[in-house]
């Protein structure tokens, strides 16, 4: 069953060009990355999925509910974690989450019990009795997640959920959210610009561009790029590079920086990585890493924006690798 089903949705604000034009898309179970450049219409889509949009053209169903008529029921069953820093004035974490639970219709005692539970679950511990204003960025992020979970929604909308967190916190929260999807059957829409993280967490992605849908793709469809390796090495590079060129091994990208000792190379898939080791041995280059590269979400995303849908056997596109430098471009 599609969690979100949108048919021909068009929404314009005033006389400005429409924020969404004739968007048709389906979002399925599991974790879905919602991607798109700034101004692609993501925020309008968020409003629609949250049952906030009163008038638009087309049809939209969220959790099987009509996004125009059942707006309040949708909001009861969807949780939202905004991108911006948000908290409640002059309240402790526990009171704020309890209050927001009450706004969802939960009776006081249930809301309080539930607030304790979700705040503990997101790892706020003793801090729940402290004023939210005293929270660090990471704690506020957890608080925002807790408030989105308090009413046990079926669908969670997370807008840049890891913004402002340090690497350890990102890792923790990412796992926690992934677990919500895996073990507790929550459907999650994850809107973010940080594609490596989306790639880690999402099952599929939905791409918007300039108010239009560019389709929904399952991440499993992205195949490894045969014969493409990422290599790292110590030693002189010009000779080595010449040798690679001579063997028809193309250097697709070099890691920026002065010595350029981390490259992405492509060679005949039949041969495996053996020629690289051979040439390295001949030129006194010490290989530190030789690793097949799979296509990153970033590459795929760039290609979708460029207008080509990803294919299972995708061609290597030079211009879309993210370690490009001026000389290679």
């Amino acid at each position: 069953m599609a969690i979100v089903e949108i048919r021909g949705l068009t929404k314009a604000y005033g006389r400005r060009p429409p924020a969404l034009r004739d968007v048709t898309l389906e979002i399925h179970e599991g974790v879905t990355g919602l991607l798109g450049p700034n101004g692609a219409g993501k925020s309008t889509l968020i409003q629609c999925v949250l049952g906030l949009l009163p008038d638009f053209q087309g049809d939209a169903k969220v959790l099987g509910l009509d996004a125009r008529r059942d707006r309040r029921e949708i909001r009861r069953r969807v949780g939202f974690m905004p991108e911006f820093d948000a908290y409640l004035p002059e309240t402790t974490g526990i009171k704020a989450v309890r209050f927001l639970g009450q706004l969802t219709g939960m009776p006081y005692n249930h809301a309080l019990r539930r607030a304790h539970e979700v705040l503990f679950h997101v790892g706020l511990g003793e801090a729940v009795y402290r004023d939210v204003r005293e929270y660090s960025t990471g704690m506020r992020q957890r608080f925002k997640l807790a408030q989105a979970l308090v009413h046990d929604p079926e669908l969670l909308f997370l807008d840049e959920p890891l913004a402002g967190l340090d690497p350890k916190g990102r890792e923790e929260l990412l796992k926690l959210i992934r677990r919500l999807a895996d073990r507790h059957g929550k459907h999650i829409i994850w809107s973010s610009h940080i594609l490596p993280e989306v790639q880690k967490v999402a099952d599929s992605i939905t791409v918007l561009k300039e108010g239009r849908s560019e389709g929904t793709y399952r991440l499993e469809e992205f195949a490894p790029r045969d014969g493409v390796y990422s290599i790292a090495f110590d030693g002189e590079s010009p000779d080595f590079r010449a040798a690679l060129d001579a063997q028809d091994i193309r250097v697709l990208a070099t890691d920026g920086g002065e010595s350029g000792d981390a490259w992405t190379v492509a060679l005949d898939p039949e041969l495996g990585s053996a020629p690289i080791f051979q040439l390295a041995g001949e030129h006194g280059v010490r290989l530190r890493r030789v690793k097949p590269v799979s296509e990153s979400l970033e590459d795929v995303f760039m290609r979708i924006l460029g207008g080509h849908a990803p294919s299972a056997q995708s061609a290597v596109s030079e211009e879309s690798h993210h370690f490009e430098t001026g000389e290679d471009a």
Partner: protein, 314 residues
């Protein structure tokens, strides 16, 4: 022996809790009465209240004082009894009390109410509300109830108890009769409270919904309250249309106008001409109420426009 499910658990309780209006109201009310300014000003009102109660007890129960009061409050050549004495005394006391306490009420609404919507804007809590199943109007109602409830403590309850005390301190068996004959005093107390709470609430809602900064809200509210009082004072000294318009611009003065009018009618003005002139200069309670309701509607609409926003991302 059992190992139960750890980590996240689904919620199995109901969603049939109280209306969100009550939750929003409760939250706002608690935040408002917890502010230091409310506590300090509340104690001030309490002190004032105790003083007035003691004075009233003395004026109505100590015989020498009562007889002296008779000569002060009675007009010549009119039949005068204890019930009329009480009425006149109470009307004057109410005017004195509210003349001061209405200003304190304005201060309370200004200090404790500045953040009522502004805080939600500043902390961006508003989007957190809006993505929940509440209607914009429920948010407006919840917020609009807060200040009237706070003001009921300082503006309504003292007047009601004064009225009751005056009735209770009547000679045996005449309490109900006095209370029945003086329902207009009760009406004045309620009128005064309604004008104050409508006007103050409307102003604070309006300002608070316009800017996320409490400081700005307080500064503008202070300017409106005290500037309005100055203008109304100035207006009452002018003549013609300017006078009629300007004398109603103060929310504080309007709120006590019912008491002022009641007191003036007791014994201050000995002849009809003077009374006529007074009516011209003092704000009219009816128009005061109209102004207060208009301000409340404007304020509520400003909040409604905020609550109708669907912006939940940047």
């Amino acid at each position: 022996m059992a190992v139960y499910a750890r980590g996240y658990r689904p919620y199995e309780g109901s969603f049939g809790g109280r209306s969100p209006v009550m939750a929003i109201f409760g939250q706002g009310f608690r935040n408002a009465i917890r502010t230091r300014s409310f506590k300090i000003l509340g104690v001030l009102v309490l002190i004032f209240y105790v003083i007035f109660t003691i004075q009233m007890y003395v004026m109505l129960n100590i015989e020498e004082v009562v007889s002296e009061g008779f000569s002060r409050f009675a007009n010549r050549n009119e039949p005068f009894d204890f019930a009329t004495y009480t009425t006149r005394y109470l009307k004057q006391a109410l005017m004195g009390f509210y003349g001061f306490v209405a200003t304190v009420g304005a201060l309370i609404s200004m200090l404790a109410g500045a953040g009522i919507v502004a805080d939600d804007l500043r902390t961006r809590a508003l989007p957190l509300y809006l993505v929940r199943p509440i209607r914009p109007i429920e948010y407006v109602l919840g917020k609009a109830l807060v200040l009237p409830a706070v003001l009921a403590i300082v503006l309504l309850s003292p007047g009601l108890t004064f009225y009751l005390f005056a009735g209770l301190w009547q000679p045996d068996g005449t309490t109900n009769e006095w209370l029945g004959n003086n329902v207009d005093i009760l009406g004045n107390v309620i009128h005064s409270y309604l004008v104050a709470s409508f006007g103050f609430t409307g102003l604070m809602l309006f300002l608070s919904a316009r800017t996320p900064r409490r400081g700005t809200v307080m500064a503008i509210a202070a300017a409106v309250y005290f500037g309005g009082a100055m203008m109304a004072g100035l207006g009452s000294e002018l003549r013609g249309v300017a006078q009629q318009a300007l004398k109603h611009v103060s929310l504080i003065v309007n709120s006590v106008s019912a008491h002022v009018m009641a007191e003036a009618e007791t014994d201050r003005w000995r002849n009809e001409a003077q009374m006529e002139r007074f009516r011209e200069e003092a704000p009219s309670p009816t128009i005061g109420m109209v102004v207060a309701i208009a301000v409340l509607l404007i304020g509520a609409y400003a909040v409604y426009r905020r609550a109708r926003s669907t912006e939940v991302s940047e």
